[in-house]
């Protein structure tokens, strides 16, 4: 004990304090989220319902609507942010996100195609179709990357192009079906937690938590990749292979999240940036902070979306983008001249 902490531990201490503070904030906002919505419920009724105490209870609204939505918002927000942070590190570009390898567009096309072209399939299968679509788009990009050993930049470009192809298909379906009346796919396209139940939590929590765990364990490799391809190879890392593995984990995370909450495109872009500003670029710290920021954004957006204009609900995806956009643009403008991370 010298009494003087080294700069490194000081930075770590600061990060630990920050993580604890963020965690507390996420918990507070989640609890606040339980109390807001189209119907005002007093705090004592919420407590009664949660702990099954005597007195007035609101079982459906609290236990079957707001609680599963909160859990899903936390899971999906964390997964999307984590996925975005990994993709930004792998592509080595701060503007990369799950969008960039076509996940959102692929998922959108498959989900919409299933509902509009095969109306016989029950709509409860929509998440599965979406997940498949995301994997298809990202799979194509990764196959090309694998066989042609592309640079990260080129890979992102192909991902963007694949996204545009799927997107044009989505537009074609939207127009030709002339069916803006089918609510579910439209609302799903904007990224919303409307109508989500425990069954959505049931199908998604295991993969999301497992994949998040894998991603956090592998995070040290991202720090190596961030050093640059030559350095990383010099340190004994098979960079193209590691890149594919990390991309695969990120794709799975984003696809599962998109499948249950819809196209929430901007969490994966914005949360890692905000996290990087808070704790710097070391992925060991940055990944968990990204997750917390992502959770915060989605839970906050979902709560506001329910409370702002009842009985109409504003999609969480839209509100999260609105909340995050000013931070994002500010960060981009202030780092515009700097080197890419």
């Amino acid at each position: 004990m010298t009494g003087l902490a080294s700069p490194r531990t000081r930075a770590t201490n600061r990060a630990v304090i920050l993580i604890v503070a963020l965690l507390a904030l996420v918990i507070c906002v989640s609890l606040w989220g339980l109390s807001v919505g189209a119907v005002a419920i007093p705090v004592d009724v919420i407590v009664n319902t949660l702990f099954n105490l005597d007195g007035e209870q609101q079982t459906y609204i609290i236990m079957k609507s707001r609680l599963p939505r909160m859990v899903l918002a936390l899971l999906a927000g964390g997964a999307l942010a984590l996925s975005g942070a990994i993709i930004q590190a792998v592509i080595r570009n701060p503007l990369a996100s799950p969008n960039v390898i076509g996940i959102n567009s692929g998922a959108a096309l498959f989900a919409l195609g299933m509902v509009l072209l095969f109306p016989a399939i029950p709509q409860v299968w929509m998440p599965l179709a979406a997940c498949l679509g995301g994997l298809c788009a990202a799979g194509f990009v990764m196959l090309v990357a694998h066989y042609r050993s592309l640079s990260a930049v080129h890979l992102a470009l192909i991902g963007v192009a694949v996204g545009f192809v799927f997107e044009s298909g989505v537009d074609y379906l939207l127009i030709t079906s002339n069916d803006s009346e089918s609510s579910a796919p439209m609302i799903w396209l904007t990224g919303s937690l409307w109508g989500r139940t425990w069954s959505h939590v049931g199908i998604s929590w295991i993969p999301m938590i497992a994949l998040s765990g894998v991603a956090l364990i592998l995070s040290y490799r991202l720090d190596l990749i961030a050093l640059g391809e030559a350095t990383a190879t010099g340190l004994g890392l098979n960079v193209p292979r590691q890149r594919l593995i990390m991309l695969f984990v990120a794709t799975m995370l984003a696809s599962v999240a998109v499948a249950v909450v819809g196209v929430m495109g901007f969490i994966g872009l914005m949360a890692p940036h905000i996290a990087r500003r808070l704790v710097g670029g070391s992925h060991r710290l940055m990944l968990p902070v990204s997750m917390l920021v992502g959770m915060l954004l989605v839970v906050l957006a979902d709560g506001i979306g329910r409370a702002i204009a009842p009985p109409i609900e504003i999609s969480a995806g839209i509100l999260a983008a609105l909340i995050g956009a000013p931070f994002f643009i500010y960060i981009m403008l202030t780092t515009a001249s700097e080197q890419e991370p």
Binding site: N178, D179, E181, S183, G195
Partner: protein, 307 residues
């Protein structure tokens, strides 16, 4: 035992009977079979045509997905169901929290709109679902019968339908033989026009009155076949003798076509047989009462036509 206490006892017994778990009616609908409590009292409806059905049997819903516009429920309905319902939001994405807070014992949903949240709705209350959007006039009457059965108003619906048939036959007699006339209902929203084809609700209603349609009759039964987005050129090919026009904006797109030979030479335009009807009533409302409103419109229109 005094008479007073006897009455009180009887009243208590009656309350007990009322509170017994009500017998359930099994209803088969688009998304399965659901046990609906006998004579449900608190009903939430998520599409206008179900308001129509409940109004036909004199039941007031506690919640309506009225797109947050109370005047979208027309006076023909409010005269029967009153003005006490709670708006539960848009038909596209009704607020589940508000529905739950109304503590309904039956929810009536639209299949194409609410299929994906059927499970969530069922957690709130027994939910039955019918296809209101793409059904014809006949399908709408069938759904009305099923819903009346679900709410325990079979007798009322039978009586109302008998009255409906009498009314409609009277209207039909007034309209007379129109088999020489081709009629077309169109929606004009300022950016485009939408034709309601013979397989749509309005198309089938016009056919019931005996009007011809110059539109090719599609074999399938999907939304894009029922309501077709079209251009002036195609309208000039269909060339109907009567146009019933519902405008959502004024002036509409069709107004900007006045003066173009292609528009002016459509039979209906040339002979001034373009009649404006209320777009909301014709294109969004379907059912027993709505068809009577439309039929009354038609009688007026045919009167003008024959002058």
């Amino acid at each position: 035992m005094s008479i007073k206490s006897l009455v009180a006892g009887l009243a208590g017994a009656m309350v007990l009977v009322a509170m017994l778990p009500a017998q359930a009616v099994e209803i088969t609908h688009d998304l399965g079979t659901t046990d609906v409590p006998d004579a449900p009292q608190r009903i939430v409806v998520l599409e206008y045509s179900f308001v129509d059905t409940l109004a036909a049997v004199g039941v007031s819903p506690v919640g309506i997905a009225d797109d947050d516009k109370r005047d979208s429920i027309i006076p023909a309905y409010t005269a029967i169901i009153g003005d006490d319902w709670t708006s539960v939001g848009t038909r596209k994405s009704p607020s589940l929290e508000i529905i739950a807070s109304l503590q309904p014992d039956l929810i009536i949903a639209d299949t194409s709109r609410h299929e994906a949240v059927y499970e969530a709705l069922s957690e709130i209350a027994p939910t039955i679902s019918f296809d209101s959007l793409t059904g014809t006039y006949e399908v709408a009457l069938e759904a009305a019968k099923t819903i009346a059965h679900a709410v325990g108003k079979d007798a009322e619906m039978e009586a109302r339908l008998a009255e409906h048939t009498t009314k409609m036959e009277a209207y039909k007699a007034e309209v007379g033989d129109v088999s020489d006339w081709s009629a077309q209902f169109i929606i004009d929203n300022g950016e485009g026009i939408f034709l309601h084809s013979p397989v749509s609700y309005n198309g089938s209603l016009l056919a019931w009155f005996g009007f011809k349609s110059n539109m090719p009759s599609p074999d399938g039964h999907t939304y894009e076949e029922a309501i077709v987005n079209t251009s002036l050129e195609q309208l000039s090919e269909i060339n109907p003798q009567i146009i019933l026009r519902g405008k959502y904006t004024d002036p509409g797109l069709t107004d900007s076509w006045v003066g173009q030979p292609l528009y002016d030479n459509i039979e209906a335009v040339k002979n001034q047989h373009v009649y404006d009807v209320i777009a909301h009533e014709w294109s969004r409302l379907r059912g027993v009462l709505a068809s009577e409103v439309s039929a009354a419109n038609l009688v007026d229109i045919v009167k003008q036509l024959k002058q």
